[in-house]
Amino acid sequence: MPVFDFFHWDKDRGYTLAETGAILQVTVGIPPALEQFCLKSGVPIPAPVAGYALIDTGASASAVHEQVFADFGVQPIDHIPMSTPHTKDKFSFVYPAKIQFPGLNLVGDGTYRVVGCELKWTTFDNKEIIMLMGRDLLKYFLMVYNGVQSDVTLSY
């Protein structure tokens, strides 16, 4: 059971977990099936986008900045409602994506369903958040959020 530790610290600010939230590196790419299709068709494969995922236990599913898919030329595969009172009658598109977490040594070739949203923002040290890691992925992990030590531990 590999264990990965993410210490949130900055040389000027000290502990930063409370400020940034629990974040880890992520890359978002086009699904493997689409990669194969592009290869066979002689179409260039767009490079994966690297950024950070914010661990979000309040989210039922993972979400990715929607512009990423527009840039990839990846079409949505579903359209689902949101349940919140403030967003009544709103829907979001669902996209297929290859999600990899380099810091977790997770480089599988699966296709994930993620919700598209307007998400991109940066932390104080210019780390770009491009994804919310929701409970659909967190269900595979043991997580320890150590607010006192500004540290998050993930294991699977």
């Binding site: 699904p31 099936a33 689409l34 194969q36 299709f37 068709s41 179409v43 979000d56 309040g58 989210a59 039922s60 599913a61 979400a63 030329g73 079409q75 949505p76 595969i77 579903d78 359209h79 689902i80 409602p81 949101m82 349940s83 919140t84 009172p85 403030h86 967003t87 709103k90 979001s92 598109f93 297929p96 699966g110 296709t111 369903r113 919700v115 949203c117 307007e118 998400l119 923002w121 919310l132 929701g134």
Partner: protein, 82 residues
């Protein structure tokens, strides 16, 4: 809107699909039900093999619609919009 035809077709055929393929993922292109698959990933792979980069729908055949819930968005805690 993308997938408009496919979503309308799915809604029209939903009760029929529930009887035969409940719990599976439907692959729908325009107004054609292609097949049902055990996983969304299998349905997507089949969709790409058949339709390439064109739009197609991969929808869970269920009485309970898949809903995206995010408490941080509800509470306004997060600087993001859907």
């Amino acid at each position: 809107m993308p997938l408009e035809k496919e979503l309308a077709f799915f809604e029209a055929k939903k009760s029929e699909l529930l009887k035969t393929h409940a719990g599976k993922f439907a692959l729908i292109h325009e107004e054609e039900f292609v097949d049902a698959f055990d996983t969304a990933e299998n349905a997507y792979d089949a969709g790409v093999a058949k339709f390439g980069k064109a739009a197609f729908l991969v929808k869970k055949i269920s009485d309970e619609p898949e809903v995206y819930r995010n408490q941080a968005f509800v509470l306004g805690l997060m600087n993001a919009r859907i």
